[in-house]
Amino acid sequence: MEELKRTPLYEEHKKLGAKMVPFGGWEMPIQYTSIIEEHLNVRSNVGVFDVSHMGEIELHGKDALSFADYLVTNSVKKMKNGRVKYTPMCYPDGGEVDDLFVYKIKDDFVLLVVNASNYEKDLDWILQHKEGFDVDVQGKSFDYGEIAVQGPKAEAFLKDYFEGEIPLTELKYFHSEYGTLFGKKVLISRTGYTGEDGFEVYSDSKDIVYLWQTVLDKGKPFHIMPAGLGARDTLRFEVAYWLYGDEIDETTNPFEAGQGFAVKLKKEKFIGKEALAKIKEEGIKRKLVGLEVPHGGIPRHGMKVLKNGQEVGYITSGNFCPSLNKICAMAYVPVEYSEAGTDVEVEIRNRKANAKVVNLPFLEPRAGKK
């Protein structure tokens, strides 16, 4: 087995008594105290996550933006400096290479932030398609450190410690700016993966330990707690944010995953355009839905969804929702069974559990609602 990579914060996690697990090729903290406690603290106060495992790929050159626009399904060509967009990146057949954030830093500099588990694959994919573009592609995952400060108190906490082009209080959802946080140079964006307001902070990897320690220290009046990958997963699950490998992969397309908002078929050209246009024209056959599963356990990735005893779909992810105190799941089911209120069954450990289709998300995200 390939040796697991460690973020610059590895020793900090050990000091905090974190349980470490392998994730996407990295040894990451799954929890410090309790997943549920960390989850609820992010919903009510503020939590800090080590997300240094995320992959950063920089595009430099005159065609940086048009190249990014060609790679992804969303429209990124006309973004203003500092704007951030979420987008799938597809194969020619419409399956997904990855989902990512595109940061337009300036006309000739675009930052792509991709899933840790897909970093090498994405980098190869991007390099393979750069012909004809005046662009320099640089894999920079190890040069960046990244933490996410998430929760309703994130802004109140960080606003006095950040100095940038504009005050943090004026930084809009899905926008970014450079500045200093606790005296260290950072790129900060009002983005996240929890459904709460909050920020993602990128720094030189050598500064991330100082930032992490200082955030934990100065955040005490705001009841900050470190939060691990376990809480990151339950938080994103409640607000139905996709996780690559669970909800989306090379066999799923953005329309059935509910990401149609991020596919701009009016763009002149992008990888996957023809296939996606055809999928849209013919209509999707299955759809990602929410399920409530009151009894029988937690549906996990890959478990079967049944209707009238017949296998009709599969669970993408399932979990206990700490903020809702119930067990839910996401699943792909045929469009005819995707209406809220439809009764289906989930096969959990060779037993059938009743489930009901519900609208997504399970919990309405508060991020961006300021």
Binding site: I30, S34, I36, G230, G297, N319, F320, I327, R349
Partner: protein, 128 residues
């Protein structure tokens, strides 16, 4: 970090404990097991009156992270189930040897207890 182990109980390699009073064995999972599982959010209901053999699956427990089977440490009839932990499984995280007990089994064959570990032996078995 040391895990709590209680004197006078019998322990299995799969981290169940059984407390013997007369011919009744109260069964639960150990502090080590609850810590490894993490936040416990589901415990499958157990049918009272079930006859079970030592080593068979008594029930399934699920944490946020994973599902795991709980095996009967001894053979016998399930005479009582802790309905409180079925309703609120996180009790097991808080008090695995007390309020977090899972079921009571009427012990059929006390000789089976000889196969189980005593506190000191289990403590060494799970020493980290």
């Amino acid at each position: 970090m040391g895990y709590k182990v209680i004197e006078g109980l019998y322990y299995t390699k799969n981290d169940e404990w059984v407390k013997v009073e007369g011919d009744i064995g109260t069964v639960g999972i150990t502090d080590y097991a609850q810590d490894k599982l993490g936040d416990i959010v589901y415990l499958e209901d157990i049918e009272k009156g079930n006859k079970i053999k030592a080593g068979e699956t008594l029930t399934t427990i699920e944490s946020v992270k994973a599902a795991s089977d709980i095996y009967a440490p001894v053979s016998g009839e399930v005479i009582e189930v802790n309905s409180e932990v079925i309703k609120e499984p996180s009790i097991i995280n808080k008090d695995p040897y007390g309020k977090g007990w899972i079921a009571k089994i009427k012990i059929e064959n006390p000789d089976e207890l000889k196969e189980l570990m005593k506190a000191e032996e289990y403590s060494n078995y799970r020493k980290e």
